[in-house]
Amino acid sequence: MTRMGTLWSPWREMNRLRREVDHLINYDGWPTSRGPAAFPAVNAWENEQGLVLTAEIPGIDPSKLDVSLEKDVLTISGERLGVASAATEENYVRRERWFEPFKRTVELPFDLNPDKCDASYERGVLTVRLERAPELQPKKLTIKAG
């Protein structure tokens, strides 16, 4: 594999630290994900019905991208594609992108319906739409007139 992914990067470390501090300040009930394995970074939106998550994973073959859900844990794993196979180490003048296999688990704040999840990949961005577990869906009460 390429070397970049395994090199210690002060940027990545600083980024991770900042992310953790941000998370402490903005604690919102979401469990924190720790460690250098926090790729891809995830943004999330929520409403009464469910959740939408997005992650930037440029240049991956969607068939090499795996998204799975088990109760309240979402796992995103895969491996990015390198440049043309003919390229050798000596051809690199600059190398900032990395191609290590990755696996990220995201703990979600509530159980989700495994039958109602939808993942799409467009322009290098993964979008996952999830629905709350049926028992967690808001119920509408009928109010009887007295």
Binding site: I57, P58, G59, V83, R123, V125, T127
Partner: protein
Amino acid sequence: MNNCQATNGNPNSQVGAEQRPVYRPSVDILDTAGDVVLVADVPGVDESHLDVTLDKNVLTIRGTVQHATFEGYTPVRTEYGVGNFERVFTVSDDVNRDAIEATVKDGVLQLRLPKTAQSTRRKIDVVAR
């Protein structure tokens, strides 16, 4: 939480003139026999929102990201910032300017800068700024 967007996610981020963060994309540069290939990660950008210009020896890549909004949803977690991409390179004279090709697929820009006939044996410098 939203005000973290500009600083989250990318150490190279800076706030642009329109108060929208501008990120410096990660790039790979390869020098092969016939051309120089520049590959940049620009997630969220497609062909119609990408601008590659070569002015004298200055190559500029600009990408405008379409901001994802989800109707009826509230943001609850922001680990990465979404903004535009911009990066500038200096290209040496040995590039055949009329034959530069740019393609974007799955949020990855690939720029092929063919070398001029007399320079195919020489090394071409593309310097990232």
